[in-house]
């Protein structure tokens, strides 16, 4: 990391909404006390300090439990968890390449299914998970993912979206937000940084007609746990899109990784919702969005947006965030009436 890390002090930061207020539904099923104690993604891995992606992996596998097999795409989570002879994985885990986790996972699912049918493995419930970063999912692996969803494999695909190719040094991806500065979409004298809007992965997956799609965020662990359970029970492919703060790539103080996840929800940047059999429900409704700058300010990748030069673009981004959130609310209200 060559860029200077800048931090915000706690006193400058806005007070956040208490965690339980937004999502009483989650608490019906889960309270922190009910989360399993066991971890299957163990301590001692090599992720950076404050890596919310690694935290999300740990939480998700805590909920999925021991009878789970994981296929992982090349990327941060593979590199930091598997350097031979060490492994952070206490469950069966496989890595083949960057763009094919969905296909490898499809194979594991189909393989187990046929062996159980033919009586060569005892019949039992095993959850197959394929996981990849945003690059592995939205860009190079989109085709393999689409194939997996279309074929209807009963498994979970988890996209850990830290909004760039972090493993290779913070290059832009199809989910890097508009205006973010990365090493291949640098903000410069004549460029604002990334000039495209996030590829709508949850919508793309939902359009495949799969039974379960949800956005999750490790800053909301109980909401996350609830959705992981639902994904596990889905009768067909399930897709989880994880908002995964990356202090290193976002030029964010490591101790702000959880807080930034909360701000992402409260500013409307990364709303939490689920789509069950095509019906969308906001799981952490935010009737009054916070100003976008509260989310942008702590992150070095957006710092340039706060200058006077980018006033107009900032307004455009703010308007788009608000419009997209309003659209989700409209859709949720409509689906609730269906």
């Amino acid at each position: 990391m060559s860029a200077q890390r800048e931090t915000t002090t706690r006193s400058e930061r806005p007070a956040l909404t208490p965690l339980t207020r937004g999502n009483p539904a989650a608490l019906d099923v889960f309270s922190a006390r009910l989360l399993p104690r066991e971890d299957y993604f163990s301590a001692g891995h090599r992720a950076c300090q404050g890596c919310a992606e690694a935290l999300a992996v740990r939480l998700i596998h805590k909920v999925l439990g021991r009878n789970t097999i994981v296929a992982t795409a090349t990327g941060c989570m593979e590199i930091i968890s598997s350097s031979y002879p060490d492994t952070a994985w206490k469950i069966p885990w496989m890595h083949v390449a960057f763009e094919n986790a969905a296909a490898v996972g499809s194979g594991i699912e189909a393989g187990l299914r046929v062996l159980m049918r033919k009586g060569r493995l005892p019949k039992r419930r095993i959850t197959v998970v394929a996981m990849g970063g945003d690059g592995a999912t939205a860009d190079i692996g989109l085709q393999a993912l689409s194939g997996m969803l279309e074929r209807g494999h009963k498994m979970i695909y988890v996209c850990y979206d830290n909004e760039a190719y972090m493993n290779t040094g913070i290059q832009r991806s199809g989910t890097t937000p508009f205006g973010a500065s990365t090493t291949t979409s640098p903000a410069g004298r004549v460029s604002i940084g990334q000039q495209t809007w996030k590829k709508p992965m949850p919508a793309i997956c939902a359009a495949h007609g799969i039974p379960y799609v949800a956005t999750v965020n490790p800053s909301y662990p109980l909401d996350l746990a609830e959705k992981v359970r639902r994904a596990q029970k889905a009768n067909g492919p399930a897709y989880l899109h994880v908002y995964a703060a990356c202090p290193t790539g976002w030029r964010l103080a490591p101790d702000l990784a959880i807080e930034i996840g909360r701000l992402a929800v409260e500013t409307g940047v990364a709303p939490l919702y689920e789509i069950v059999d095509g019906r969308l429900r906001l799981t952490c409704p935010t009737p009054k969005l916070r100003p976008l700058v509260e989310y942008l300010r702590p992150q070095g990748r957006f710092r340039h947006l706060l200058s006077e030069d980018h006033k107009d673009e900032l307004a455009v981004i703010q308007a788009r965030v608000a419009a997209e959130y309003a659209e989700l609310e409209r859709r949720a209200a409509e689906d609730a009436r269906r």
Partner: protein, 397 residues
Amino acid sequence: MSGPIVAGKPVGMEVSIAIAEAAKLADVDIVAAYPITPQTHIVEHLAEIVADGDLDAEFIPVESEHSAMSVCCGTSAAGARTFTATSSQGLALMHEILFIASALRLPIVMAVANRALSGPINIWNDHSDVMANRDAGWVQVFAENGQESLDLTIWAFRLAEDKRVSLPVMVNFDGFMLSHVVEPVTLPDAETVRKFLPPFEPLQRLDVDAPRSLGPVGIPDIYTEAKKAQLQVLLDSYGPILETWGAFEKAFGRRYRPVETYRADDAEILMLTMGGLGETAMSVVDERRAKGEKVGLVRIRLWRPFPFDEFRKAVAKCKALAVLDRAISFGGPMGPVASEVKAALYADAHRPLIVEFVVGLGGRDVTFADFHRMWDETAAAARAGKAPAPRMVGLRE
């Protein structure tokens, strides 16, 4: 397919169908494949067999060959007997994953109906697809006719799944020239195959009761050792290859060897082929022998691991060796097989003169006349004691 196929008697059968029947006889659990000419009939027939309930397997209609090979990695790691087939661009698209499948020691079996690589796009036969993947760490064999294609496909599972080996195996056979022709093929009966091919017991599997991590990062400290271990397993597969071919002969009465020769014992001029051209070459050998010429044929059946000793033995007494390549190493030594053969002989005291030909690119016919001309040129080179530059046969200039 019309009507049941009787085991034990030769029946006329398209070679692609014979390969599909071999996968069925092997009782595969998984077929994951993507259509490409001229391989397509294999997977179409397997899809049909599965749809009719004649084979209890999952047919996974993937969205690309890259995913086909990736799915195969997953199914094989789950412990399922896995088959796929492809050609040309499909094999090229799998390229990345081929190397990983062998490094992970996954005993996948793949039939490759050899076809030219684009561009220009060309659906006909040569060996540019397999040559671009010769270093992928797979065991690679070549079949010359329908029976061999079927036999080697059944055998491939036995070898791949042998715990001493546990490597993927590629069965090459010529696209169209073999894949689409009807040949007399004897189907073995299912019971004999079952005895020859016990149920798949993987060396390692993804098992929730005995978790392991497959495919971890290999840092510089261990990468060299990992590659050495992989190389050693491939080299050491040689013994099991001979052994399982022995077992095959016992069970089915047909014999396979890493290097096979035809009228080569006292031959002064030999020709080397891989794949279906060997059949034509044998007929030409007969014609020339009838005229009293001491000619013979060497056919490489086992391409990886390369059978160096057998090969040296086979050419030990000849004066000149014509090597027929069906691919080009661009900007390199012209023919990949010839360059390999030359390298194999470099340190030997006796080195036959090697005359190189590139033939049959992209489905170009290699006629009897072409064969005779190549033999004449090789004989002339032997007399002159000097090999001409590698030549592309049948080239219009």
